[in-house]
Amino acid sequence: MIQKRSFPFGTFILSLLVVLGLGVIIYRYIYGLGAISNLSDGRAWGLWISFDLYCGVALAAGGFTLAGAVYIFKLEKYHSVVRPAVLTAFLGYTLVILALLVDLGQPWYIWHIIINWNIHSPLFEVGMCVMTYTVVLALEFSPAVFERLKWNVPLRIIRTIQIPLVIAGVVLSTLHQSSLGSMLLMMPETLHSLWYTPILPILFLTSAIAVGPAMVIFESTLSTRVFGHKLDIEVLSGLARIIPYILGIYLLLKIFELTAVGELGLIFTAYPQNLLWWAEIIIGVISPIILFSVSEIRENRNAVFWTSVLVIGGLVLNRFNVSLLALGMRPGYVYFPHWMEFAISAGLVADALLVIWLAHRFLPIAQPEQTAEVKV
């Protein structure tokens, strides 16, 4: 299983990014957030919340959508991609937690959320979901580690609670994905009307479900290129076929909501915000709906990959719109992320990529269970 390979150039760059990010994080703990960020009283949440939290959680949606599809809806065809999807989700959530450890003013008090509950706060729900779902994801992924170490007892225990785990994962993800939308419900006066709606939690959940399969296509295509184990085109086109339906529901919800409150006209009049809205809808919703409906495109690996990149790009833009670009600032302030803010986010992503690289080298990721089941 383990091939001897030289230390690739890519991993060297990633390691550099990790070291740089680590340095900035140490600097941050000594001198405070003001020293490494352009955050201010006017813009208290910036790049880390938009990218690491909002995008990180949404892009981890491949974990619960695929685990649910395979273990609950019994779509066995996708079995081979569950494990990489769960690994990416787990790393995504770890990244979220690490980013929060940087972003929180006093992260060493993060446990306060366990003893001081404000059940009316959407962020309390977010915090609870991050903690519990990360544990669930770790457990869901743990068989890969146990198989490698040939620890049969814990492996058997995890197998027996696998279905409850998957159900817990789906429940927690449903709550968590939507709660990131609920968080914005506190800002009816500051979030632009093109995006603010009481159904934001539902929109967040729907778009996360749509991006889940797209992320799986994205990752597995990339890991095909890097690690070489080729994925069946049937799996890719199957995933691609589902996406237009979910995006279609998402688009209808958005349009209906704007029509219902009589604000549909804003998509033409609310310059310049409407450009962001159109970009998000055209890139991430309308184009993929059209492209993924064409069977020639679904049969072509490259086309499937690039169309799923569109879905992901649209979602990232959406999360940046609602949490940064279309969210009003206090007057008299400007915000553009400091280079050290970028360095931290880049470092964390590099962390995750390195772990994925190591996992693919040392753990049974691509061909799960078949061999191990025989052993058990």
Binding site: Y29, Y31, G32, L33, G34, A35, L39, S40, D41, G42, A44, W45, G68, Y71, I72, F73, K74, D103, L104, G105, Q106, P107, Y109, I110, H112, I113, N116, W117, N118, H120, S121, P122, L123, F124, E125, V126, G127, I167, V170, V171, T174, L175, S178, S179, G181, S182, M183, L185, M186, M187, P188, E189, T190, P198, P201, L327, R330, P331, G332, Y333
Partner: protein, 273 residues
């Protein structure tokens, strides 16, 4: 009964005594720009100073020069926490570090906070501030001098105001008084008590000779900003139970389908035998 403060921009002379009193009482006086403190004021092109509320400045007077109704106005606006009746910061805080006391003040507890800054993002007035330059940062904002109120004293800013532009009292009584002032000289005041209905009402009430939007105070509806979030959070338990039940149901159905299919194919095999 809740306490409130009525601020009358027509009585304010922009002396900023309230700013200084606030810093002195709340132990931010080392940040008052004086030579001994080594803190320098910058020329920002206005008497207004400092430019923003901050973790060291919990209240300040905003200076606005404007034309309104064919006349020139120089209007002062006191900025500080509005102490909402339905505070977004209190609903937002995941650890309950911010609380609305029954007496009126919205107070903050260092011992619970972990610095997530959701309160800052949620506040419709843009009030809470953060100690950005400290490695051990907390949220800071006007406390309504809850400690002084508890001891039967007026807030520091109210006590120091030389022109009675600030008046402490019971909220309903102050609203009645504000209305009386408007009616007594309708040419001097716009017919609007800012804070009476904004976001469900606030404990700080404003009177002004010009519309409040022109003073940079946000134009807000009368619904509490917390309503939609409250509804969404109320839906959490049913959604949790519902999704769990639905997923278990689907799993059971799919398992049954598989078993039935297997049985069928077995029977077929037997028949063909």
């Amino acid at each position: 009964m809740t306490v409130a403060v009525l601020y009358d921009a027509n009585k304010c002379i922009g002396c900023r005594g309230c700013q200084v009193a606030c810093k002195q009482w709340n132990e931010n006086d080392e940040f008052i720009p004086t030579e001994e403190n080594g803190v320098k004021s910058k020329n920002t092109g206005s008497y207004e100073n400092p430019p923003h509320l901050s973790a060291r400045t919990w209240t300040k007077i905003r200076f606005t020069e404007l034309e309104y109704n064919g006349g020139f106005h120089w209007v002062f606006t006191k900025l500080q926490c509005m102490h909402c009746e339905h505070p977004a910061c209190v609903a937002a805080c995941p650890v309950g570090a911010l609380q609305k006391t029954p007496e009126g003040p919205v107070i903050y507890d260092d011992n619970k906070c972990f610095g997530c800054r959701y309160c800052m993002v949620a506040c419709p007035f843009g009030i809470p501030t953060f100690e950005w330059d400290s490695p051990l940062p907390w949220i800071r904002k006007c406390t309504f001098c809850a400690d002084r109120l508890g001891a039967g004293l007026e807030p520091a800013c109210v006590q120091t105001c030389p022109t009675n532009a600030l008046k402490l009292g019971e909220r309903e009584e102050l609203i009645a008084e504000a209305r009386k002032r408007i009616n007594a000289s309708p040419d001097k005041y716009v017919n609007h008590i800012y804070g009476e209905n904004e976001v469900g009402g606030t404990s700080w009430l404003y009177l002004s000779p010009v519309p409040f939007e022109l003073l940079g105070l946000p134009a807000l509806g009368s619904e509490p900003v917390t309503l939609d979030a409250e509804r969404a959070m109320g839906a959490v338990p049913p959604v949790l139970m519902g999704v769990a039940a639905a997923m278990s149901g689907v799993y059971w159905l799919m398992k049954r389908r598989d078993r039935v299919n297997r049985d069928k194919s077995k029977k077929k095999e037997e028949v063909t035998k």
